[in-house]
């Protein structure tokens, strides 16, 4: 009865359907996606394993970021490196035997983990999964799956909060949260899981506060906001503008202008906190800088920044040429480009799904809320600014000195900015109550279709017999 009344007033609760669909397809993704296949999953898993043993800092005589890992984990990782481009596949029968090998933690191998700068915070969910998994089945492949499971549960729980708390645009979060790449990242051992979910949470919470007529910015709420901003910041760098969505909250709710300026400065300060906490701690250990795997060209952030300032027009030309060339690839990445072999879905999938996302955002029922011009500009600035920061950041840190190619930039890096930009499309002019009440059917059906397609696609691509 209660549910019926809720449905009549609000429609079917999106967050509940999201969790059900996300759980079913997330579980399927966990097992159909080969272990260690997700981009950098091996490195993130090793780090999560260390955190599960409460080893936050590694200590060894050679002063490098390396530790003793069970030999079985290293071997499983090496065995998982299949040449997909050549058409090699996983065999279920071969995998069955490997699944039964125990961890044997006493037999270890000294292995490099080349990401000391990332704090342990994004690895906490996975480490909990791994720690529990050791008691159930300590086979290394199973440990990856336990890590992924814990990640998926965390992702779904956070997305539940996002969809529940956002005052409008639930359909946007529902559909984008179930977009193949987003759910795939959510069901993998990678820091992107927490980073994506926290970016969505910040947007949802600030929209909720902005449009809640009873909202008052109390000390408790401010503490909660900064806690969320810090978790977001510690989970991954590269998204400094997302916390500034705080300014969606109207001035009259913040209070005096000096308060807003102070909060803005504190948000800015939050950006540097990881450098002056975890960064200092790592710096004090005196680890050697490990040579990166690519040495054919020289990378130097300082020289690239100097180039931007000394040749602004040349830089602009590089930027535009790369956008022209790579925009399709980056767009594919925001919807589904998977793992270290950069597996693409067919283009019709991206075009259709992109259009569905655009029209869902456009018809999202917001008639009762006014997205004023200033709000739209703020969303536009932060959304596009985030995209720009990611592109320029990649040019500075990941591109060869003197080069014209923005190198190694993945479309999935733009995931946190996509909902921000989609909210710009929301329009109250085309509100339709019937669509508001029943859109869950259409969006669920579309999500089930896309995710079923993804599972079949993965199964055919990765597995044989």
């Amino acid at each position: 009865m209660k549910f019926k009344a809720y449905y009549k007033a609000n429609g079917i609760p999106f967050e509940l359907i999201f969790v059900i669909i996300g759980l079913v397809f997330g579980l399927l993704i966990i097992f159909v996606n080969p272990p260690f296949y997700t981009a950098d999953e091996s490195t993130h898993f090793h780090k999560s394993y260390l955190v599960s043993r409460l080893e936050f800092l590694v200590r060894n005589n050679q002063k490098i970021w390396a530790a003793d890992f069970p030999k079985s984990i290293v071997e499983c990782r090496q065995r998982a490196m299949i040449n997909w481009d050549r058409g090699d596949k996983y065999s279920h029968s071969r995998f069955k035997a490997a699944r039964n090998r125990p961890l044997k933690p006493q037999e270890t191998l000294f292995t490099k983990v080349p990401i000391p700068s990332i704090s342990p915070i994004p690895y906490i969910p996975f480490s909990i999964g791994i720690a529990i998994g050791i008691f159930i089945n300590d086979n290394p492949y199973w440990l990856v799956w336990f890590g992924r499971l814990a990640g998926l549960f965390t992702f779904l729980a956070l997305m539940y909060i996002v969809i529940r708390s956002v005052p409008f645009g639930k359909g946007i979060f529902f559909l984008y949260g179930l977009t193949p790449i987003v759910l795939y990242q959510g069901a993998s051992v990678t820091y992107d899981m927490l980073n994506n979910a926290m970016s969505f949470i910040l947007l949802a919470v600030f929209l909720k506060y902005a449009f809640d007529p009873n909202f008052k910015l109390t000390g408790k709420k401010l503490a909660l906001i900064f806690a969320l901003i810090l978790i977001h910041r510690f989970s991954k760098g590269g998204y400094p503008l997302i916390p500034f969505l705080f300014f969606l909250i109207p001035m009259q709710k913040i209070g005096k202008p000096w308060k807003a300026v102070l909060i803005g400065l504190c948000i800015l300060l939050c950006w540097f906190i990881p450098d002056y906490t975890w960064g200092l701690l790592i710096g004090a250990q005196g680890y050697q800088v490990l040579a990166i795997g690519q040495k054919d060209v020289y990378f130097n952030s300082g020289m690239n920044i100097a180039f931007i300032f000394s040749h602004p027009l040349d830089f602009l030309s590089i930027l535009l040429r790369n956008i022209w060339w790579q925009a399709a690839m980056w767009t594919r990445g925001t919807m589904g480009r998977f793992g270290h072999a950069y597996l693409n879905l067919p283009d019709w999938f991206y075009i259709l799904h992109g259009l569905v996302l655009i029209f869902t955002a456009f018809f999202e029922p917001v008639y009762e809320y006014v997205l004023s011009r200033s709000l739209r500009w703020l969303l536009f600035g932060i959304g596009l600014g985030t995209v720009a920061v990611v592109i320029v950041g990649d040019f500075v840190t990941g591109s060869a000195v003197g080069g014209t190619v923005i190198f190694g930039l993945q479309g999935r890096y733009f995931v946190p900015a996509v909902p921000v930009l989609l909210f710009l499309l929301c329009s109250k002019e085309y509100y339709n109550r019937r669509w508001q009440q029943n859109r869950w059917i259409a969006l669920s059906a579309w999500s089930i279709f896309t995710l079923t397609y993804l599972i079949i696609f993965f199964n055919n691509y990765f597995w044989v017999d």
């Binding site: 449009f211 795997g293 060339w325 006014v370 710009l424 329009s427 109250k428």
Partner: protein, 275 residues
């Protein structure tokens, strides 16, 4: 800072009764669609986004390439041109660009490799060796997008050419040094290993010859002609047990190989070595 319009639906000013009311006027249960100016205005962002989205998929992908790749493309395209003037022009332009780039970015192993490649095309062997060596040194230990492997493959060519030139000048020892130097960089190249093995065989330095034959056989383990040569060296070194094993192995690969049959019969007619 977002300043919201002070309309009745601005955030913070909403009342429950206002939120539940629909903005559409219905007539006899049928919704009437008015294409109001506001509705038209609301379509603008949609059209902009759709246009951008369409643009992404409809524009041809024009690949951006690094300036050093562009320069080496000129060098390589010179090969495809038949007109000698045009060929020279392309080669010159590519070389000039690479020279400029290497002085600007001396720290890129890739440019050193391309410049070495350019000198190889120009048949300037010493310069080619110099830059290819630089590329190998600078990129050593690289794991992805490597050039050291290509440079190691290419560096053999100028050494070979220098070997031929010195051989023509009867500077045999100096010529051999070129091959040994090339071998330092590329131990798996079969023609190099075979040549060195043959040279040492002629010089009756059988131990060295066997070393290079073994390098060769590492890549081509079933080359029966070379196996036969190894067997013969073993015989010369009076190691007939090992030689027999080799000839028997050859006959397993090719039972009709006459040389091995003949050598095996030679061993069988001799008394066995006493060790």
């Amino acid at each position: 800072m977002a300043k919201h319009k002070s309309g009745k639906n601005s955030p913070g000013n909403l009342k429950k009764s206002e939120r539940s009311s629909s903005p559409h006027v219905t007539h006899g249960g049928m919704k009437k669609f008015h294409f109001t100016p506001d509705k038209k205005k609301a379509l603008i962002p949609l059209f902009i986004v759709l246009a951008c989205f369409g643009f992404i998929w409809l524009t041809p992908e024009t690949e951006v390439i690094q300036p050093w790749s562009e320069a080496v493309l000129l060098v390589d395209s010179a090969d495809k041109v038949t007109d000698p003037v045009q060929k020279e022009l392309l080669m010159d332009k590519g070389g000039k660009e690479l020279k400029e780039l290497i002085s600007k970015y001396p720290f890129h192993a890739r440019i050193h490799y391309f410049y070495g490649h350019y000198f190889l095309k120009r048949k300037l062997w010493d310069s080619s060796i110099f830059y290819l060596k630089n590329a190998i040194r600078m990129d050593s230990g690289g794991e992805s997008n490597t050039v050291w492997n290509f440079a190691k493959e290419e560096i053999v060519v100028p050494y070979f050419k220098k070997y031929e030139i010195l051989l023509d000048q009867n500077k045999n020892e100096l010529a051999l040094e070129q091959l040994l130097e090339a071998h330092r960089y590329n131990r798996t190249r079969t023609d190099l290993n075979l040549l060195l093995a043959d040279i040492y065989k002629i010089k009756k330095n059988y131990d060295s010859s066997l070393i290079y034959y073994s390098w060769y056989l590492y890549s081509k383990p079933n080359d029966i002609n070379v196996l036969n040569d190894v067997g013969i060296i073993r015989l010369i070194k009076k190691d007939s047990t090992e030689a027999r094993k080799i000839f028997e192995h050859i006959l397993k690969i090719d039972p009709n190989y006459v040389n091995a049959k003949r050598n095996l019969s030679l061993i069988s007619n001799k008394p066995r070595d006493v060790k």
